[in-house]
Symmetry: C2
Subunit: 243 residues, 2 copies
Amino acid sequence: MTEAKIRLHVDHPLGDGQAVPLSEGQAHYLTGVMRLAAGAAVLLFNGRDGEWRARLTIASRRGAVVSCEVQTRALRMPPDLWLLFAPIKKARTDFIVEKAVELGVRRILPVQTRHTNSDRIRQDRLQAHALEAAEQCGATYVPEVAELAPLDRVLADWSQDRRLYWCDEAAAGQPASLAPANGPAAILIGPEGGFSVDEAARLRANPAVLPLSLGPRILRADTAAVAAITLWQASCGDWRGGA
Amino acid sequence: MTEAKIRLHVDHPLGDGQAVPLSEGQAHYLTGVMRLAAGAAVLLFNGRDGEWRARLTIASRRGAVVSCEVQTRALRMPPDLWLLFAPIKKARTDFIVEKAVELGVRRILPVQTRHTNSDRIRQDRLQAHALEAAEQCGATYVPEVAELAPLDRVLADWSQDRRLYWCDEAAAGQPASLAPANGPAAILIGPEGGFSVDEAARLRANPAVLPLSLGPRILRADTAAVAAITLWQASCGDWRGGA
């Protein structure tokens, strides 16, 4: 039995014996780039039905169809953690999205703050980036990337049962610890210039908001995102074990 | 008083009234690129004497000299933590070095393992990258980047009083926790292909080695490095507070 190494995300339902047509890009990748022929095995996931090993049944220039054989992994939802961040330079924003998928978050929400550099993002590009990260890291779920929204509006609509860990630079030097807790949560990473005085006041006044220290040094936004998700996963998420 | 925003690393001693000649590259950067003139303030650090505000006294095409005015930050050594990692692609290796400096490690040791992709690194380039990261993140100390060394040799010379946290993929699903501990430590991140059977056996047999889980998902090496340093800093390092 060939070991399947290529993982592809598809929108199609997956199940026993299910035939799945691949996209033109995927067909080209498998047959043109990877030189796979009919009979080769690939892994599929769609974010709902877990991961399936499938075999290439039709492989031509016109398209490719694979047939599901066996479920290789059950669906594993990441914990109910959201990541809110102010978009930064393209490469570092891509990096934050990639790392959030690997570390395990359920939603990624770019937010616009007073000092956010960019006032627009390419949501479709970031969503595609999240999907590619999921293909590569073995995730069976692809976090949704939301459209850019103003932080004020996001906070105005905030549900009080979702704790919001705010990586507050003013907390530097405080212990970097999160009390173990269950339930929905979110992490907020600020822009390079930090939050404005108004924004900080609104965050402090919100009962769902908990400040989180990330040590005594200044971290870039992308580093802060990875560090904060790591601390949350180890204390409150599915890194606590028993997987 | 002008607020100094530019931070430069110099080799020269720093102290009250000390005149410090800048390198040709730094002189060009300050006068040619940033258009600073005599009287402008910059921040200097050398990894030994903390951070000093200095004023540009000579600024010409031939060179620049600054004069130290006041210490703005005391030397802050990162905890005695080493990062051992198997070099990966250039951009991701650079990333690991940058993040290790920001998060706070004292030495960075590229190690060659059975499945390491590259058998050489540009140590000088990585050291320069560490220095630049220190300039940008406000660190007063620049971690040393060692030359690439075979993992076997590094382990053979290992001092048993330095705990070595091994990010073992076989530990996936175990709790991602580090018992609080004082004393020297190191983190070992494997190559993309993982460790060989021999290497894993040698690691397991070494009493200084402690396996560390990083959750149930597969992390890239660069993500694993950031996550592991974060967990160590929060449990054993200077993120425990009281800074």
